[in-house]
Symmetry: C2
Subunit: 327 residues, 2 copies
DNA sequence: CTGAAAGCGCTTACAG
DNA sequence: CTGAAAGCGCTTACAG
């Protein structure tokens, strides 16, 4: 069986209390005893049982991370970065892929609470699902407003929309279309669209927003993009609300013999590592995923360890125009 | 504070033992008592503490998943699918991104053992890192041979290599190049290359394998691909060992005015959901990620619950030629 | 500087 | 059908 603290104590000829003390570096222990204990731990290949520690300490050092799915590189990267910063701080990550499914998410919340996680980072679309205010579990939301009580981490989506649109304008575009993913109101991401519309109006240019219906994403995107090209002529710029859509636009343009960027300029949104690698030609608004992940866990830690009441706030990150050759 | 079992017992007017019994559906309890207990749990919003349960039961229902990084959609999808099948079986996933870093991985192993995980699924390149045979923790390896004792889940990489190469041959290609990611010997993935070489030799065609040096992947890939085009003329087919490389090939071809698939046919490897979405034109060998994930956790569960000694075996999955327009 | 005892929140023989 | 007691592997006052 796995050795426990009393086995170590026995081997070192001391009491369990003492072993625990050297384990936690607490109180005074003579160098000699320390050495004996370390030696015994080594000999037995002892590793403390974190379950028991967590039970006593009422601190599991585990945090729950709920994302739609890590299959999507944006969330995959986000999860990876969150986990990275957690590991650096001695925290562990319980991964939850909600798949936009309310029922699944509800189960995850219960699971996380049963497992005594110290806090959770959630990127969910299921508003009002949980009575977040009910339990005083530290929570940080990603890009979504969940409740008055919960701080949200986001990048400056309005700034991103402005950057994208003005970049297209400066490049000489006159007729710019915006293609939007399935609209989820009250989401910071919708500011991308608002920014586009504001900028266009300011320039007295027509506002042309298309929205992809939230059906089977893959074909829906292709179809929606085809519709845009069918319905509109002389488009010279497209600002897509995410990189998949932008790449679908470029593909469709190519098939129709429209050259990018000469006759059509395309700007995407997100700029995850993988998309940058796989499509370096794409001009896109890059979200600082790593920084956002870091802020999220720092802020969560503030709540977890915080003596002070952490105010509900929105932590907004600057966004970057990453120039490829598509615009 | 969070209610505990004794609070529920008190509220229901029974003993903690009884509450535990209804919680676990064990032994005989009168319907009446059951109702009282459920009512009390509801009223107190009681949720059992899994830490305490796991401690007593010596079963955490947590499994560790070590991947290079979920930023990469192949591993992101793999992690998501593993987590999905775990959730269905009441298991929880502790996520570890090793980033190909031996030191990080070593720490993860220790962390997982401290947390009393029931088993681990590992996709690691760090052979010989851990004395896997040392501890009798159930382990399943993904695509990598770690030790005689550890079963490995893989897809039939040889079959994939044959499929890709013969598809190119059937499409009329005469001069086919294989571009390989950084070579990691003894890895099932190298069978892709072996298959290519076998098929080419059999047809008395020249074997032309290029290998990408394991440096900064992004530029390395672009550069390696450019080299291939510089050094070789009249190439009419390229079999790339993963989809990123295949897409880099298509991009480079486009820049050089080589039309795909007319003058050059390209086949990739992996076929993750995201790449299929973002590049539906790519012909690729698709790995059955979901099935592999399912097999992995089923096999792990066999070890965990197994009374019988689970034999070390390789569980090979069939692979699929997914036809796009690139070949 | 060190140890015996109680407790973290559960569960399970063992009685009744 | 139900409860008192002991124990899962730790830690922390409290004594000494």
């Amino acid at each position: 069986m796995k050795p426990k603290i009393s086995d170590v104590a026995h081997a070192a000829g001391v009491s369990p209390t003492t072993v625990s003390r050297v384990l936690n570096n607490r109180g005074y222990i003579s160098e000699d005893t320390k050495k004996k204990v370390y030696k015994a731990m080594d000999a037995l290949n002892y590793l403390p049982n974190d379950l028991a520690r967590s039970l006593y300490n009422k601190r599991s050092n585990i945090i729950g991370v709920i994302v739609p799915t890590t299959s999507n590189p944006f969330y995959g990267e986000l999860a990876a970065k969150i986990e990275h910063h957690c590991a650096e701080k001695g925290l562990k990550v319980l991964l939850c892929n909600s798949l936009f499914n309310v029922e699944k998410e509800r189960n995850y919340w219960e699971m996380l609470r049963r497992n005594q996680v110290d806090g959770v980072i959630v990127c969910t679309y299921n508003r009002g699902l949980i009575d977040y205010d009910d339990h005083h579990l530290p929570i940080v939301a990603f890009d979504h407003y969940l409740s008055k009580r919960i701080p949200v981490i986001s990048s400056n989506n309005y700034e991103g929309g402005v950057l994208a649109t003005t970049h297209l304008l400066k490049s000489g575009c006159k007729k710019i279309i915006h293609i939007n993913g399935p609209l989820d109101l009250e989401t910071p991401a919708n500011l991308r669209r608002k920014a586009y519309e504001d900028v266009m109006k300011e320039q007295d240019l027509p506002v042309l927003t298309y929205e992809i219906k939230p059906v089977l994403k893959q074909e829906a995107t292709a179809k929606a993009v085809a519709t845009v090209f069918d319905e509109q002529q002389d488009i010279d710029g497209i600002f897509a609300s995410d990189d998949s859509i932008a790449l679908a636009v470029i593909r469709e343009a190519r098939e129709r013999g429209i050259t990018v960027p000469d006759s059509l300029k395309v700007v995407g949104y997100d700029g995850s590592e993988f998309v940058r690698e796989i499509a370096p030609e794409l001009t896109t608004i890059q979200q600082p995923i790593n920084k956002m992940a870091e802020t999220a866990i720092n802020h969560l830690l503030l709540q977890i360890e915080g003596t002070t009441q952490v105010p509900n706030q929105e932590l907004v990150h600057h966004v970057l125009l990453r120039k490829g050759t598509s615009a």
